[in-house]
């Protein structure tokens, strides 16, 4: 069952997050960050930041603070287990730091399929703004859905996954993904 084209252009609920210094330090720990500018307020200020700077990819997580961050996928019939991250981009307009109150507004963009629907792609564009309305960043996400036609019957269906693997030569990301996982 292909992803319903009627979702194209659909706006998802905006989400607001206060950037917490402790969360930034946790993020730094999780990615092995050693640059003190991301964890030490003195180092950050000495480097000219208002507060601890937000690392380049941290903004991706704002909308995941939603109580049901992947709910929009199940609403359009997509099984999260068959989702792969295809592409991600950030365009930065204004630096964000700890203490900023940021709001992300996601919108579903294009939906298209390759290989006769064996792989479907969903694009999502999000803006991140500060309380005063300043644009902080624009994000674009492309997710690939493997073999959505079988998603509903696929629990434990290794054969279905393997067949999808073999069929997706046109989409290098998903092909490599699944093979590498095995």
């Amino acid at each position: 069952m292909p992803v319903d084209q009627s979702v194209v252009g659909k706006e998802l609920p905006p989400l607001t997050m206060t950037v917490d210094a402790g969360r930034l330090r946790f993020f730094a720990k999780a990615i092995g960050e050693t640059n003190p500018v991301f964890t030490d307020l003195g180092a950050a200020k000495a480097a000219g930041h208002r507060d601890l700077p937000v690392p380049p990819t941290f903004l991706f997580g704002i909308e995941l603070e939603s109580p049901d961050p992947f709910g929009w996928l199940s609403c359009i019939g997509v099984d999260l287990r068959r989702v792969l991250h295809g592409e991600q981009s950030f365009t930065y307009h204004s630096p964000a730091v700890a203490g900023d109150v940021l709001t992300v507004a996601p919108r579903i963009g294009d939906v298209y399929s390759k290989k006769g629907g064996t792989l479907e792609f969903i694009e999502k564009a999000s803006t991140v703004t500060r309380e005063n309305g300043d644009l902080v960043a624009e994000l674009k996400t492309v997710i690939a859905v493997r073999n959505p036609a079988r998603a509903s019957e696929a629990t434990g269906n290794v054969g279905g996954a393997s067949e999808a693997t073999g069929n997706v030569g046109g989409a290098s990301e998903a092909t490599g993904n699944v093979k590498a996982a095995k």
Binding site: R23, F26, F27, K29, A30, I31, G32, E33, N35, V37, F38, A47, G48, H49, P53, V54, P55, P56, T57, F58, F60, G61, I62, L64, E65, P69, D79, L80, R81, R82, V83, L84, H85, G86, E87, Q88, S89, F90, T91, Y92, P95, K140, A154, T155, G156, N157, V158, G159, G160, A161, S162, S172, E173, G176, N177, V178, K179, A180, A181, K182
Partner: protein, 136 residues
Amino acid sequence: MTAVQDITVGTELPPLEMNPISRTTLALFAGASGDHNPMHIDIDVAKSAGLDDVFAHGMLSMAYLGRLLTDWVDPQAIRSYRVRFAAITPLHGKPTATGTVAGIDDVDGERRATLNLTVTLDDGTVTLIGDAVVAV
């Protein structure tokens, strides 16, 4: 940090070699990033989808590549940053982030370098391919 006047097309950023990715790495990144997708932290869910095990968040590798950038320029100097996820990173994969200056331009009165970026595993698998534009 490389002196601005030394940056030319072909300049290589110092590579960033990561430790092999463990289950603890993925648990911590799930919590810190907010991405709780069980495919990265729950082997039972991964098996239910026909995989042998969990695999790393793509955004973890993008964060490693982001470290390569911010080791080289101030975070405020990054104008854009994008990647394509070319292959997943399996558990115990050992990523290395690399970057090369592909171009230098003047845009909006600012000198900017375009960087070609990759993340590669020990076995040679290229997992991320991307680029970034930074003010230099």
